[in-house]
């Protein structure tokens, strides 16, 4: 159920978000706020950890660019326990990644308040830099972009956003909503007890009619579903250009190993062995582990992948990694009826065994005969 | 009469047909007799219901078709409900009737039902009877 925060009046969505963050800091509901903020030169945005309410000016979480999946930052921020409360403003894919990381204990949400928001999608970072360069009022560009989104003008958002089905942050503690809503007031959904605590004595008003929002969300979802690919026929061709830079691994919010299993030294490969193998097989491909690398990564991360697409953006060879991950991981997740980041209570598929799965095994072991 | 058993005798097309029509597993039956014990009409039968399955296990389908048992069965399904092995005897009886009737013979001849009976009997009795006993 959505509600309107009554005290907050602002001229646009961006302003109302800023106002809300400032309020949280002023009232000492939290000690710090983590939010994307416009650079002094105005070209790009990056995350800032803000403790002074005045410094919330320039926050621009809606800017259509994502340079990092913020869940990665949360790993750093909660490495050691602190008693400081932090409100983190996240895109829906970042919320979902963060929830997955909480499950595997790489992020501690003890003192975190996740504030998500309806995401309009982003440009490819390079493209965004080119566009913003030409813009005169870079502040207003974000608002212009949202308006275009609302009026259904086709924007060239990056591919992985164009088929994203989870653009509302329903599993965050609080989600800020604007799609399908008329007012520029701050409308929020409170999804957890924690979220409730954060706004507990604020005056709110329930929004009774959210049918237009539902309709709009439904419309966007249907459109996006059609763009989604269902299978990949030329996987080997697609990954052929891979130069083994491992950028995709570095930016992936869910790759959490301290040292990747696929580092050459862990394979126990000595020069002698390379040579021996080449002699035996007549030739070997160098570097030789691109296929293994990508398959292993999908195998390890497939059930948790939130399809944020940051890997695709990071790939210097323009391999459509976002699409590849989306197709594979959707299939894996469907097998287990699992949606990463949907709920904190849903256990990771590989860590549990459901009873009906057990009977599947039994059926295989004891075929029913005459 | 002796029943001579052999593998050919047991591997019988008619038996396969019975299994196909009824969908019942004849070989699950362990002859406990609960079907016979509960059958409301077994006292009128030439051979009791459990013996029908036994003879089918022996492949002796002709032995059964010449008995009245399949025509006495009133399809009350008591046997199937109680069977500890889940063998649906009511379906086996239906299959046996079908094997007989599909040779284009009638067991009951509608024309021979006396006129005054036709007047008084409820339709459901007539239709059900003809459905079970005519081809």
């Amino acid at each position: 159920m959505l509600q309107m925060l009554k005290g907050i009046k602002a001229k646009n969505h961006l302003e109302s978000i800023k106002y809300f963050l400032r309020y949280l800091l002023q009232e000492k509901r939290v000690d710090a706020v983590l939010v994307p903020k416009r650079h002094p030169n105005g070209r790009s945005v990056s995350h800032a950890l803000i403790t002074d309410p005045l410094n919330t000016e320039g926050s621009d979480p809606l800017a259509p660019v994502q340079t990092v999946n913020a869940a990665c930052i949360l790993k750093e921020l909660t490495k050691e326990p602190t008693d400081k409360k932090i409100a983190v403003v996240l895109r829906p894919c970042e919320v979902r990644a963060a929830i997955e990381l909480i499950k595997i204990k790489q992020v501690s949400d003890e003192n975190l308040y996740m504030i998500g928001y309806d995401c309009p999608g982003v440009y490819d970072a390079k493209e965004y830099m080119n566009i913003i360069e030409k813009e005169e009022d870079r502040e207003k560009f974000t608002l212009k972009y949202i308006e275009a989104f609302l009026s259904d003008k086709k924007e060239e958002i990056r591919e992985s956003c164009s088929y994203c089905m989870y653009f509302t942050a329903d599993s965050a503690d609080i989600n800020m909503a604007w799609i399908g809503l008329n007012s520029s007031d701050l409308v929020i959904g409170v999804n957890t007890e924690k979220g409730k605590k954060l706004i507990n004595d604020l005056e709110t008003e329930e929004i009774s009619d959210s049918s237009r929002r539902k309709e709009k969300i439904g419309m966007i979802s249907t459109g996006r579903k059609q763009i989604q690919k269902d299978r990949i026929d030329n996987f080997l061709d697609l990954i052929q250009p891979c130069i083994r830079c491992y950028n995709c691994r570095e930016v992936c919010p869910l790759c959490y190993c301290k040292e990747c299993l696929l580092e050459p030294e862990k394979m126990g490969y000595s020069s002698v062995r390379y040579m021996n193998r080449a002699i035996k097989k007549k030739q070997i491909k160098m570097p030789d582990d691109t296929v293994l690398y990508h398959l292993t990564k999908i195998n390890h991360m497939g059930y948790s992948c939130v399809s944020c697409g940051i890997c695709e953006q990071a790939c210097p060879m323009d391999i459509p990694l976002g699409m590849i991950y989306n197709v594979f991981s959707r299939k894996i997740q469907a097998l287990f009826d699992y949606v990463p980041g949907r709920s904190r209570d849903e256990e990771l598929p590989v860590t549990t065994f459901r009873e009906e799965e057990l009977s599947e095994v039994e059926d295989i072991q004891q075929p029913r005969g005459k | 009469m002796n029943v001579q058993l052999s593998s050919e005798e047991l591997d019988n097309e008619d038996i396969d047909k019975i299994i196909e029509i009824s969908g019942a597993n004849l070989f699950a039956c362990y002859q406990c007799g609960k079907c016979t014990a509960g059958c409301p009409t077994s006292e009128f039968m030439d051979i009791p219901p459990h013996e029908v399955i036994r003879l089918l296990q022996f492949g002796q389908i002709e032995e059964i078709l010449c008995k009245n048992t399949l025509w006495i069965c009133a399809s009350c399904i008591t046997c199937a409900v109680r069977c500890p092995k889940g063998v649906d005897l009511s379906k086996i009886m239906e299959a046996l009737r079908q094997i007989f009737l599909r040779k284009n013979v009638n067991y009951v001849h509608p024309n021979e039902v006396p006129n005054e009976e036709l007047q008084t009997l409820p339709q459901i009795a007539l239709i059900a009877n003809f459905r079970k006993f005519t081809h």
Binding site: - | E20, S22, T41, I77, V81, Q98, P122, Q123, I124, N129
Partner: protein, 295 residues
Amino acid sequence: MLTVSYMPGCTLKTTGRNYEDSMLKLLYKLNVKVEELKNWFCCGTTYSMASDNLMNQLAPIRTLLRAKQTGRRELLVLCSMCYNTLRRAQDLVLHDEEKRNKINEFMYLEETNFNGDEVRVIHLLNYLKEFIGFETLADGIIKKTSDLKVAPYYGCMLLRPEEISIDESSENPGIMEELFQACGIDNVYFPFKTECCGSYQTVNKKDIVISRTSKIINSAVNNKADMITTSCPLCYFNLDSSQGTLVDNVPGFKTIPVMYVSQILALFVGIEDATDYSMHSIDPRPVLKEKGLLG
């Protein structure tokens, strides 16, 4: 006001008229509008258990299609045979995808398919329990002082096979007892309530039916029942009509009237003109008068 679709089946228009009439009047009094399907088919009266022949399933499925087209979720049936045939056909379609497709392919002229779960075939007893409520029914009872003892007879088709049973137990159904108890009507211990009456054997093997019904009737009489009550027109016929023969051939045989559930309920709620007593071969009027149910 409740409205329900209704499929009478063949016999309720003829020898089972008392059943339909009393039910219609009863439900009218209970503020239920009963809408007979415009275009129903004979259900076949007995479910075909030959799995390789689907022709016999077409009629019941067509009837269910008509019910689906009314847009209502429930299809009320009274006759036990109809109930059994429709429910089992529905069950078949619901659980066997291959057969469902085959049947639907065959009926290509129909406007829509039947998937098995669109319509619930509901028997009168369940309808009274779930949609009207035995308490509501009891509120309408005006003949509170009668000490009529009924023997509720279920027969086979409402109970077996287990998966289509109207009650949770095929062996120990209790819905009629529950109904009578709620309405303050006594019922007796009746161990033959689920034993087959001989069914369609009544056409060419009367002796079987006579043997069956005599056991059922004796059990009811020995347990001090005044009346056997049933909800199946064939059970009714077999139990009622065989008593003439039994009186002639069995010395000391005691007769007992057989009535439909709805006939009895109608009397208890004060509808006296629901029934044509001349259709009964054992006239229930003497007992009804004795028990103060008829003036």
